[in-house]
């Protein structure tokens, strides 16, 4: 019982610190809260005994830990209710969780390099824009169809994906991303550089997502609606990714990534699994873009340029390739952090780049590396 208490106490403490860091107004307060989190993490990490105890406790009470984290995630908009801006930023982080899980399935699990993530999320977003604004389809239907467009257009890349690998595949996807961006920027029906404006918002059962959310006596900014939608989506996608990762499907993708010829010799259909991984991944990436479109209300070419593809790749590499929790961690760090450090003005992106390089130099396998697979062993046997 004390273990569960410890897990919840740690989570609550961390949660309070994170909320304080997000809501801090003055640079000194931001620095103090962020420093507190970093110092706590460093202390836990540097003391081997403390780290072992912490990880063991969390592993032993996994359900309690997950429940606690879920509770924190649900409570977050309530604590951030004074700041629509930060509610928006954490919602973006959740969209990136969805996108990054999709990209991770391609890049982390199957080794199919995709440097056109922004193009696929743009396909989702633009499809939503076109279907709702030009054809008048209801937004919820458009959000469901958007990701399918990403999958369908992604099919064009099937041939090069099967033919090329490594750096050459990277180039093919870079080229695809640039083609997408130039096309939406110059075609008439995509609105050119202006993009598509006035995308209607989600209205399930007549409840508009742009109305402030009332919970009991509390009034939350309307962004909280999208936050909960994005949270549900991110949780569902992460759960799916987790199930896929721990299934034969995930294992098969890993064999493809590590040695394609050996996988082929063992009877794995390279074509089928690569295409499956690529399509499922594109679906998730497109889904993130589709929800982004209804949330922001417009899409334009700069929202989906090469830079965003790189951010998506950064999220999964920094979090840990093929690591489901790592991807979540990466998105929750990389998306809000540059916003939090907006006070550094023009130095922000410079420091962001330096920080990524430093993390890579000291943790080349990511912040939360993928664990070694443990097939056939129950957890109790492993610990014994």
């Amino acid at each position: 019982m004390s273990g569960i208490g410890a897990v919840w106490a740690i989570e609550l403490g961390l949660f309070v610190l994170v909320v304080a860091a997000l809501l801090a107004e003055r640079p000194a307060a931001v620095a103090a809260t962020v420093a507190a989190i970093v110092v706590l993490a460093a202390v836990a990490r540097l003391s081997a005994r403390l780290w072992r105890w912490t990880t063991a406790t969390f592993l032993a009470h996994r359900t309690a830990a997950l429940a606690g984290a879920a509770l924190c995630a649900v409570a977050l908009p309530v604590l951030l209710r004074t700041s629509p801006y930060w509610t928006f930023v954490v919602t973006m982080a959740l969209l990136y969780v969805t996108i990054a899980q999709g990209l991770n399935l391609q890049l982390g699990s199957a080794g199919v390099i995709n440097l056109a993530g922004a193009a696929f999320s743009g396909l989702g977003g633009y499809t939503v824009g076109l279907l709702t604004v030009k054809l008048g389809l209801p937004p919820w239907l458009a959000v469901l169809l958007g990701p399918l467009a990403a999958v369908a257009v992604g099919a064009i890349l099937f041939v090069p994906i099967l033919k090329t690998r490594g750096h050459y595949l990277a180039l093919v996807t870079i080229a695809f991303g640039f083609i997408f961006n130039i096309l939406v920027n110059n075609l008439e029906f995509t609105g050119g550089p202006q993009g598509i404006k006035n995308i209607p918002t989600l209205q399930p059962f007549g409840y508009a997502f742009t109305a402030p959310l009332r919970l009991g006596g509390l009034t939350l900014p309307y962004h909280a609606n999208f936050y909960y939608a994005a949270l549900a989506m991110a949780a569902l996608v992460t759960w799916l990714a987790w199930r896929l990762h721990n299934s034969w499907f995930g294992l098969t993708l890993n064999t493809l990534r590590d040695d394609e010829i050996a996988a082929k010799c063992s009877g794995v259909s390279v074509v089928r699994y690569k295409l499956l991984a690529f399509s499922i991944g594109n679906f998730f990436i497109g889904l993130g873009g589709a929800l982004y479109a209804v949330m922001v209300g417009f899409v334009s070419p700069p929202d989906f340029d090469f830079g965003y593809s790189l951010i998506m790749v950064s999220v999964i590499i920094l979090g840990g390739l093929d690591s489901i929790p790592g991807v979540v961690l990466g998105a929750c760090l990389l998306i809000p952090l540059p916003e939090r450090f907006r006070m550094l003005h023009e130095y922000r992106l410079l420091l962001y780049g330096l920080a990524i390089i430093l993390v890579l130099l000291y943790r080349p396998w990511g912040l939360w590396p993928a664990a070694v697979r443990r097939y056939g062993l129950r957890e109790t046997e492993v610990r014994a």
């Binding site: 050459y168 180039l171 093919v172 080229a175 640039f178 083609i179 130039i182 050996a262 023009e346 390089i357």
Partner: protein, 307 residues
Amino acid sequence: MPPLEVLLQQAFNGLMLGVMYALVAVGFTLFFGVLDVIHFSHGDIFMLGAFAGLSLTFAWTAAGLTHPAVALCLTFVGAVLVTGLVGVLAERGCVKPLAKAPPLMTLLATLSLGLVIREAVLIFFPRGADPKPFPAMLPGGLFEVGGVVIRYENLAILAIGAACMVALDLLITRTRIGASIRAVAQDPEAAQMMGVDLDRTVDVTFFLGSALAAVAGVLNGLYYSEIHFIMGIMGGVIGFSAAAIGGLGNVYGAILGGLLFGVLQTLAAAFIPRGSEFRDVVAFAVVMVFMVLRPTGILGEKAVERV
């Protein structure tokens, strides 16, 4: 269908663009040859070369150096030295420490380095966000051959680019350091056993590749008479495309790929309605088709699949 003169004119312009692309592509291919990495900040190194060149032209003007040819030579030499050094530092800081990590880490690290270089120019160069006019330093004037207008400055760009290629070829085929570069590219371990200093060879290669990118950057400034801090993104992507079309690791392939990409772009601009907007779409689409037909480039070796 545009007349033949337009075709020839565009082909000539494409050749000139192609020379600049080829100079960037050679860097990509050299780095890939010796270290098996794609150095994604190379495009920003190219941009840095242009800005280094621009700063030097200011310096010469301030110092009262009026002879244009001497100023131009000094600009090239200075830009090559500065940019080459940055290239070596980039390799020491971002590529070598990650040699044992998965290849994607190098990709992300060099991409981030590119961001750092870009932002550094934006912040520390005076009014770095604006496009910068690049002074004209090449002789003006033009002549006409069969309806094709040829400017002296364009000829000079072509000549400088070609001279760099020839020098590179001589260096690689005729000198000791060139032999060690080729040896490392073929088999780093065997090369070391034969007494090749690996670290030094890698340093020289990165200096060489970055120096050629600096030349391309200055030529780019002279050609468009304007440079911008984000020019490295497209420059890098095109350089990488050219290197890959030609076959990564093959210097002649990179030159061929660069010329091909340049000609392709200008021809697309001439032949396709609203071509100037869609020329890059055509060029990248051709890149994708190329990758399908020849997945390792024109001159690339057929990948040997080890079992």
